[in-house]
């Protein structure tokens, strides 16, 4: 299925489901809108609810290339868009000195020595592209300002080469963990969707889709246990869908010896949380 064929919310939902990503209707609709309106989609949500997975599933489901830009602090143009291959440029200079190659400035700063980073890659790709800009909140304000420009005209200017415009607008998905508030201007360029924890039924369905062959007994137990932990309201870090999957896998691997309490470390990663859950017998009867 290509982007052009994703003409309805159901089609978007099906394409994701084909890659074992069970999106609820609001999310499928947001993805559908992002494709049809050709606007970037900003996904926020607690850790481990599958923000990054959306992009991955969408790319595979539509047979397009996934290009991922993992953001970090201090990221600049040379990490995100392009850089020059200095080592090869120096070699070429030496070769020119010896009279065996080109060495002028125009040759040195030509496409031969250009290193394409994710954003340029996405612009120049022949195939349809899903561009994932992951954890944008980790990048700093300066990069956000650049991204703003990039997302509005999908073009970058390389001083030595001129302006490069995209062949097509890639589907852009941004994710944020909300470690800081993003700039308003950037948010306004984007469609917005908040991914919530899935309902118990959906989470069970997700378990079955992602771990084929998991017995319903384990799935139901793990989902019930995770639900209790999330409702407990006194934990520092709540388990996400990712943790649910690992927990179910842990129980599956242990077979009949599997015990929720012993494998609690699959879901809770803060010592105080583990102690609290055991003390208050939160998981009793699951």
């Amino acid at each position: 299925m290509t982007f052009a064929e994703l003409r309805s919310v159901e089609a978007a939902s099906d394409a994701l489901a084909a890659e074992s990503y069970l999106a609820d209707r609001p999310l499928a609709l947001a993805v559908h809108l992002a494709i049809v309106l050709e606007q970037p989609l900003l996904l926020e949500g607690e850790a481990g609810v599958g923000k990054t997975e959306v992009a991955r599933a969408l790319a595979t489901g539509t047979g397009s290339r996934l290009i991922r830009l993992q953001c970090h602090e201090g990221m600049d143009l040379h990490h995100a868009v392009y850089d020059w291959d200095y080592a090869r440029q120096l070699l070429a200079l030496r070769a020119a000195e010896a009279g065996t190659g080109p060495g002028g400035e125009t040759e040195l700063f030509s496409r031969r020595f250009l290193l394409r980073r994710p954003l340029l890659e996405a612009l120049e790709s022949e195939d349809p592209v899903v561009l994932l800009i992951d954890e944008i909140d980790r990048a700093d304000d300066e990069f956000e300002a650049f991204l703003l420009e990039f997302l509005s005209d999908f073009a970058v200017t390389i001083p030595e080469l001129g302006t490069i415009t995209g062949r097509q607008r890639p589907v852009v998905i941004l994710t944020s963990n909300r470690t800081r508030e993003l700039h308003d201007a950037l948010k306004r360029r984007c469609l917005y969707h908040w991914i919530d924890y899935p309902s118990p039924e959906r989470e069970r369905a997700i378990l079955h889709a992602r771990i084929p062959g998991v017995p319903e007994s384990i799935a139901a137990r793990v989902v019930a246990a995770v639900g209790r932990l999330r409702d407990h309201g006194d934990l520092y870090k709540l388990p996400g869908v990712g943790e649910t999957l690992v927990w179910a896998q842990a129980l599956l691997a242990l077979g009949s010896e599997g015990d929720l309490d012993q494998t609690l470390g699959a879901a809770l990663k803060v010592h105080e949380d583990v102690v609290r859950v055991r003390e208050r017998k939160v998981l009793e009867g699951v």
Partner: protein
């Protein structure tokens, strides 16, 4: 009016309602809303709602406003009464507010006022006196004078090394700027004669200010909130919280240049002004709901007298957790200004082992001390 016109005017009023509630909805968003409605099944109320929400909201806080505005413009669906959506805690806040004892600002002593009037120094020493005056003794006029001093103080804050680099002259330990070296070497036939270097820049470290506004802190709360406001206005990456029995994030309320309006907005947002204190519970909320904003590398400043009426043990555990996730933890206690002060209240006893610094925070001079410490961090 045709059907299309009706839709246009409806969307217009939806946008107007959102704007009235503080969302930023411009013409661009409105156009997007029209385009979005064209591509979804308009006969489905749910789909239209979701589509409009995706386009018109740009943050989680917008979503609640959107739901309210949508119901107001397109009519509420049966079965989704407003009562379901309203935050039950908001009501609890009002109840708590009316039940909890209130402490008033102590009536200023007339004799003292006379004394104040008798000492009318020149402008310079006026400020000098103000620096050491306890916030609780401030008159309204002095609060206005202090504002400028606070604004100046609030600009000083902690910094840290950034991953971003900038070109510098040669110093030891800096990394070579290969790009510029290569450029320069073109002029010398490929020989890197001129060398260039880059060094990391500094940027401001996140600061989280948590201010106690319970009854016992009332004399200080006004001035400390003023400091919070000045900090939010002056620096990037400052988060402000206020607490009594519950924690309220007031960063957005305090933002904006208009000083009085910002303070009024913040006071409105805090449901339990001058009520009881449960520091432990408030910090627990900070750790859980705002852990991401607070965590890793932030300097946390708690402004409270440490009169905790919550469950014992909670404060201790939450302080330990906060200390582990923060870069530095500073506690400002106005009572600490007293020369005989010892951290003997239950709350302070639990908190002190986990704090890096304990300061007074009862006067401009002590806030200066805070600024100095922050700058060194």
């Amino acid at each position: 009016m045709s059907e299309a016109d009706a839709l246009v005017s409806r969307l217009g009023s939806l946008a107007a309602l959102l704007r009235a509630q503080g969302s930023r909805v411009g013409v661009g968003e409105l156009l997007d809303a029209h385009r979005a409605l064209r591509v979804v099944d308009c006969s489905s109320r749910e789909d239209s709602r979701l589509a409009l929400r995706t386009v018109l909201c740009s943050g989680r806080s917008d979503m609640e406003r959107f739901d309210r505005a949508f119901d107001a413009v397109f009519g509420a669906e049966r079965g989704t009464a407003d009562a379901d959506r309203a935050d039950p805690l908001a009501e609890l806040g009002a109840v708590t507010r009316s039940v909890l004892p209130r402490a008033a600002i102590p009536a200023s002593d007339p004799a003292q006022q006379v004394a104040e009037r008798s000492a009318i120094p020149a402008a310079w020493s006026d400020l000098e006196l103000l620096r050491h005056k306890d916030f609780a003794q401030y008159s309204d006029a002095e609060m206005v004078v202090a504002r400028e001093l606070m604004a100046r103080l609030a600009r000083r804050g902690p910094t840290r090394l950034s991953r971003r680099t900038r070109p510098v002259r040669r110093r030891r330990g800096h990394t070579p700027d290969v790009r510029r070296v290569l450029r320069a070497s073109l002029r010398t036939g490929g020989e890197p004669v001129q060398r260039h270097w880059r060094a990391p820049t500094r940027r401001s470290r996140p600061v989280v200010l948590v201010c106690d506004v319970s009854g016992s802190m009332t004399p200080y709360a006004r001035m400390l909130l003023q400091y919070l406001h000045a900090s939010v206005a002056a620096r990037r990456r400052v988060e402000a919280f206020a607490f009594g029995t519950r924690l309220t994030r007031i960063t957005n309320e305090l933002a904006g240049r208009d000083h009085d309006r910002a303070l009024a907005r913040a006071a409105d947002a805090v449901a339990d002004f001058s009520g009881g204190t449960r520091i432990g519970a408030a910090l627990a909320e900070l750790n859980r709901l705002h852990g991401r904003r607070v965590g890793r590398g932030a300097v946390i400043v708690i402004l409270s007298d440490g009169w905790d009426r919550g469950e014992p043990g909670v404060l201790e555990a939450e302080m330990a957790r906060l200390r582990r996730s923060a870069h530095r933890l500073v506690w400002l206690n106005p009572l600490a200004a007293h020369p005989d002060f010892e951290p003997l209240t239950r709350g302070m006893r639990a908190a002190v082992p986990h704090t890096d610094e304990l300061l007074a925070g009862n006067s401009i001079a002590s806030l200066e001390e805070l600024a100095c410490i922050l700058e060194e961090i």
